[in-house]
Symmetry: C2
Subunit: 488 residues, 2 copies
């Protein structure tokens, strides 16, 4: 049936079509039903909401993502077709009784997730089955394949495409810009895409955005890489392995992180970006997602499954016992990064980890001799060439290096006693930064003066909280004082 569009600036996080009650009754469609909208050969699946005013029967309202995807505007004519229950609904259930999924079935499920053909509740059923029953190696391979194949792909003429991935959860673990700058300078091609924060204070994309735009199209990304050997883009706008974004969003609701899906997501994203060499960093320990034994198990699986897809893959297990660097929050983290690159008084832990990772990547791609990676990385960093490369990348993406200032409202927190720091609770640190305004207020955050093992005297400042608003600063301080994330 054909409808006249009323464009409706609603961002609902998913495509929503508002149908007049009278039309819905005639068509026999209900709230929550899925319909296909099509115009000029473009199609999108949308969820139905009903309206009784704002427009007339014969008109439909569409949310922003629909208007964008179909390239329509108010007044255009559009076709709406009811779609029956998707195939996935019959398949998903299998895993809830620990039956394995066939390759074809995983492809159907992932396709339906990408096409928005199944609800978030159905995706939750899928995730909980995988969480509960796990997946065989073969299933994990097929899941990776399905996530990889249902989305955009970038291809490169060179074979020396490298990438890195740090498994999340460690505040301040912002090695990417440093590693990428060093490796690109050495001749490695690194089309790096990163995510924004979901539950943390900042994602790499949020941090890079303090200096330049990150929402590149694939065409723009290729242009930047051609010019500089690398890029520092946001993955969200590229459509690489888009099922992954949706799965993560539903997992985060109750903090699930099923292993097969973690592996499949990461590898699918790397494959879609066209990578051949991949370094995976698995932090383990008190503040990390993984214990040492889980990290070891994950390592084996990454090597096996990555190998199946022809990836040259290395996995390093790193210290995840505490935050890395001093600043937590987009601007504060970029300040730390710039200190390392500009050879100022830089956070040693961030610098050392970045050098190690850059070294491993350069040895993998043959841009450094075996055993000489770290040494070469150090040379590039200390010569100022890494900073020059970083500047080049930022400028190629349309930004520039500038002096960044943390939030205008700030307060130092003084230690109430003397002693040696025993523990820093990363989750509470991240939550403090979020209360201060992270990640949307880029200059909000928390600067941690000392790390575990360091001594502090009574009355000395242990951390400083920054915010764009006095109100948010108060809330962050209140939380910090109550939960006291830095323990002696």
């Amino acid at each position: 049936m054909r409808f006249r569009i009323k464009s409706f600036k609603i961002g609902a996080g998913k495509p929503i079509v508002f149908v007049h009650k009278t039309d819905a009754k005639n068509l026999g469609i209900h709230v929550g039903n899925r319909v296909e909208l099509s115009a000029d050969g473009k199609r999108i699946i949308a969820v139905v909401d009903l309206v009784g005013n704002y427009f007339e029967p014969g008109e439909i309202g569409v949310s922003e993502d629909i208007a964008r995807r179909l390239e329509t505007k108010s007044g255009d004519s559009i076709n709406l077709t009811f779609i029956p229950a998707p195939q996935s609904t019959r398949i998903i259930k299998k895993k809830l009784t620990c039956q394995p999924y066939a390759k074809r079935e995983l492809n159907i499920i992932i396709k339906d997730i990408v096409n928005n053909a199944i609800t978030e509740a159905e995706i939750a059923y899928f995730i909980s089955g995988v969480y509960h029953c796990g997946m065989s190696e073969e299933e994990t391979i097929n899941l990776t394949d399905a996530i990889y194949n249902n989305g955009q792909k970038i291809s490169w003429s060179s074979n020396k495409i490298a990438d890195k991935h740090s498994i999340g959860g460690i505040p301040g673990n912002r090695t990417t810009p440093i590693v990428v700058s060093i490796c690109a300078e050495a001749g490695v091609i690194m089309p790096k895409t990163s995510s924004r924060a979901i539950t943390s204070a900042a994602g790499t994309a949020d941090v890079i955005e303090t200096l330049t735009r990150v929402d590149l199209s694939i065409k723009e990304l290729k242009k930047v890489v051609k010019k500089t050997n690398a890029c520092l883009a946001w993955g969200g706008s590229l459509g690489l392995a888009p099922a992954d974004d949706k799965l993560i969003q539903i997992e985060r609701l109750i903090n699930l992180d099923p292993e097969p899906q973690l592996i499949a997501s990461i590898l699918a994203k790397k494959l879609a970006a066209g990578s051949k060499y991949v370094l995976i960093d698995i932090p383990y320990g008190k503040n990390a997602k993984a214990t040492l034994s889980k990290a070891k198990r994950l390592k084996k699986k990454f090597l096996k499954i990555g190998g199946h897809f022809g990836l040259k893959i290395k996995v390093i297990l790193t210290d995840g016992s505490q935050i890395i660097g001093n600043g937590i929050g987009p601007v504060l983290e970029m300040i730390d990064i710039l200190k390392v690159l500009k050879r100022e008084d830089s956070p040693k832990d961030l610098e050392d980890k970045s050098l190690k990772m850059a070294g491993v990547i350069m040895e993998m791609t043959g841009n450094a001799k075996k055993g000489q990676g770290i040494k070469k990385a150090k040379e590039i960093l200390e010569s100022g060439k890494a900073f020059r490369k970083f500047k080049e990348i930022i400028e190629a993406q349309g930004g520039k290096i500038k002096t960044l200032k943390p939030g205008k409202f700030s307060q130092g927190i003084t230690s109430l006693k003397s002693g040696k720091i025993k523990e820093i609770d990363g989750r509470s640190i991240a939550h403090t930064a979020r209360l201060a305004g992270c990640p949307s207020d880029k200059s909000a955050g928390i600067y941690i003066q000392k790390h575990i093992g360091e001594k502090i005297s009574k009355g000395e400042i242990i951390a400083t909280i920054y915010s764009e608003s006095n109100h948010k600063l108060r809330e962050a301080i209140e939380f910090f004082n109550e939960f006291n994330p830095i323990k002696f």
Copy 2:
């Protein structure tokens, strides 16, 4: 923060508040966040969508259920508060690794479901945990208790309140109006509430609605019961055990039906309606939800858990191998019911089952002597008193007995061969009726001429499909011919 309401006639199936992008940014709220709206001491939790037009910053749009619950109108001032992650999100996860839920935890989860404080995906996680790991008897009791206690309750001065429940899945199993009329005539108090169809062709509430309104308030329901000993109301508008409705809605997405939740839902609804005597009918067999062994297991659990709550409970296992009666669809099923009550040429299977159930209930409540229940039920039905009682109930609810006609477009389907009917696939029959327009087009449906075991000749009409629209009739016929639900 205070906002000016713009009432927004949107029925989204859940409370949705539309916040202007500018306000959202200032408040740090995102799509999908939960906020509490309050006005004059009334509160509701709503899900955030963002808008960029249709109104100004400082204004919010609210969906219909919000306006109704808060009793607000456009221009009113309302308070909006961000609410952090609900407690449930931390608790729900436990069951995914088969850890038991404590009583307190189940209460938190059910309260959050009722208050709309958790998403449908989170509810799906809860359901899949219960489906996968099951629940102990103690947990099932605590779940029943939580569902029962988080909602409205009806209390009665009499103790002789009886109820019945048939476990779903058998098309045409519409014994309720007949059983209620017989029992009420005998002096049993039966404040019966029923559901509407979700995936079937008709729920009892849809069938009753062909003659009268069914959306009674608790006050109206009590008035009807006082006058006639019974009622035939829709449960949905009463707020009894409302968690149940939400759980069923999410379960149906992939056809899950975890046993503990099935038991808890049914018993909680009966407890909330104030019942003391409960008859549970568990159909088993090819077309039913339960096999004989599952039906036996369920029976034991119903008796045990119902007993814990002080219910006098009986469970009968009945033949669920095929449809009951001849008509499938609201009007066609009511025509069958009226035939039984008016002593016309009635479907024998529907009549016999109704008499049996009415007999058991009257014996339970002491309104019939042991072993004399069916006999007494038969007397009441044959004397015409049951019909008179039914008429009284329908009229007390504001309706009247009238002659009903099935859909104006119809087509008989002739048998292509002669033989004895071996199987009738209830699910395909229900789907045919839905394609014809059920349950919203009340006069749509399918009339099945013969039952399993009966003979049919080539060229004889085996079924007739009715619809309000020629288009829907064609679709239903096409499906019927393709899937051929009646097998020889």
